[in-house]
């Protein structure tokens, strides 16, 4: 965690100075989507429906960006060929 800035270091008008891509929501996750790219038919529905922009299509296969994935399971539920499994995150 970076130190909180004082008011003299903040932009005026209260405009945010960082992008939320710096904020990782992956640790919210209880269930982790695991993609079986052998089953995947590359329909992109998971990419289209992911509320967290955490599904990445790299041109060849579907990957999950676990930095942001909150584990909602929409991708797994909507996958027409059941190529995504939701598996429990290991407890600490």
């Amino acid at each position: 965690m970076t130190e909180l800035r004082g008011y003299k270091e903040l932009p005026i008008g209260a405009v945010p100075f960082r992008l939320s891509t710096d904020y990782k929501t992956g640790d919210w996750r209880a269930l982790r989507p695991v993609v079986d790219n052998n089953k995947c038919v590359k329909c992109m529905l998971c990419w289209i429906f992911c509320p967290d922009m955490a599904i990445i299509w790299d041109g060849e296969q579907i990957k999950v960006n676990y930095d942001y994935c909150k584990g909602c399971g929409i991708c797994a539920h909507e996958c027409p060929v059941k190529a995504i499994d939701m598996v429990p995150e290991p407890s600490e």
């Binding site: 909180l4 932009p11 405009v15 945010p16 992008l19």
Partner: protein, 419 residues
């Protein structure tokens, strides 16, 4: 009071003489100020401003987008949107309309949007009353706006143009409210001098220029506006970790306002030959005065008339018109008042259960002085009740007698009300 200069850049004969009321004067000022967006809703006694401005729009005399919104709340909201997009935005209202805007007044100031708002001061309901007092303006005193009060129609014109210059100054970047007394100024015809359009454009530096800010995700400073070339987000959620810091920005900006108001007043003087005290306070005959009266707005003229009369009678009286109420010039005013025996503070508003708003400020201003005058608060003129010269003269005599006695029996006095 208007103080004349010998050689203004634009001598009086080059200025156009207009016979207009205060509302029209404000509309003329807005017209010449290259305003991009005017969003307004009709309310007495402000309506003439938007009527007059609509005529300028209808005749193609301005480039301005006029947004005839469905409420004052939306008027200020549209001004916030327009100013955030980088536009020069203006609106006008009064009383209940200003009260309806209240929520967004704070937002405009916090987002540091240099909107200019003309308030044709009017009493708040209930009972509904369309006439002048300052209770509307006093409701917004904590909203983070600069508040200027004018004495006459000429000053309404001059101050509206100055308001854009003050608001957009990079040291300030705060919205500015120009207060003119409802009916007493808004509907009263006076002969005024206005500048040629180009002179106003030059004074303001052309169209609005937006300041720049630095955010981490751009390497260079970017314009503080809704800009598809360099996206910024306006109006985020602050938690307890940053809200206080953001409020400090407003505190600091307010501190820089008086110097800017003085500078602008001085520049205006050089340009037009007109100035209003130092822009912040307009003192008159205060140097050796035993009794000084403070006042806001158009009543200043009547008070000055009485001061002149009493001075002719050998009475040591003076007055200060408070032109800038926010930020309040505590120190400067205290320096003027500290040697008087009694100060009468006139307020055209009251905080029920307390005193008039400027009385509280002046008490604060004088508290630290060992030697200080006695203070009396005169609440007067609510709901447009007239404050004629005889009444004000009676007030001065009361104050003179307090000065003689050396103590004040009744601190809060109501002037011109029936019991």
């Amino acid at each position: 009071m208007t103080e004349a200069v010998k050689t203004p850049h634009i001598p009086l004969e080059k200025q156009k003489l207009l016979t207009v009321n205060g509302d029209e004067a404000v509309a003329w000022a807005a017209k010449q100020s290259l305003v991009d967006v005017v969003a307004a809703y009709p309310i007495t006694p402000q309506t003439i401003i938007v009527e007059k401005f609509s005529e300028f729009v209808a005749n193609g005399e301005v480039h301005t987008e006029f947004v005839p919104v469905e409420s004052e709340h939306s008027a200020m909201s549209a001004c916030v949107g327009a100013a955030a997009a980088g536009a020069r935005a203006f609106t006008a209202t009064a009383a209940n309309g200003l009260a309806l805007m209240w929520e967004i007044l704070y937002i405009a100031a916090s987002l540091r949007l240099p909107i200019v708002l003309a308030v044709a001061n009017r009493a708040l309901s209930a009972p509904i009353n369309i006439h002048c007092d300052h209770s509307d303006a006093m409701g917004m005193r904590d909203a983070g706006w600069v508040q200027l009060f004018v004495e006459n129609v000429q000053e309404a014109y001059d101050t509206t143009i100055q308001a854009f210059k003050i608001a957009e100054d990079e040291r300030v970047l705060l919205p500015v409210a120009v207060n003119l007394d409802g009916f007493f100024l808004s509907h009263t015809l006076e002969n005024i001098h206005i500048l040629p359009d180009e002179a106003v454009h030059e004074f303001l530096g052309g169209y609005r220029k937006v300041p720049k800010v630095k955010v981490d995700y751009f390497d260079e400073e970017v314009p503080l506006m809704l800009n598809p070339a360099r996206p910024l987000s306006f109006g985020p959620l602050d938690l307890y970790d940053y809200y206080f810091e953001h409020k400090m920005h407003q505190v600091e900006a307010m501190k820089r306002v008086p110097e800017v108001v003085r500078e602008v007043n001085e520049k205006w003087y050089e340009l037009t030959g007109r100035k209003y005290g130092d822009g912040v306070l307009v003192p008159y005959e205060v140097e050796d005065a035993d009794v000084i009266v403070t006042v806001l707005g158009s009543t200043g003229g009547t008070v000055r008339h009485i001061v002149k009369k009493l001075r002719r009678e050998g009475k040591k009286v003076g007055m200060v018109r408070i032109r800038m109420f926010r930020p309040f010039p505590h120190k400067e005013l205290a320096e003027i008042l500290k040697n008087a025996k009694v100060v009468g503070v006139m307020d055209r508003a009251i905080s029920f259960g307390s005193y008039g708003p400027s009385f509280l400020e002046i008490n604060t201003a004088l508290y630290d002085y060992k030697e200080k005058p006695l203070l009396v608060n005169y609440v007067y003129g609510l709901g447009g009740r007239d404050a004629p010269p005889e009444l004000l003269e009676k007030m001065f005599h009361e104050l003179l007698s307090d000065a003689e006695k050396g103590f004040v029996e009744k601190k809060l006095r109501f002037l011109g009300v029936r019991e």
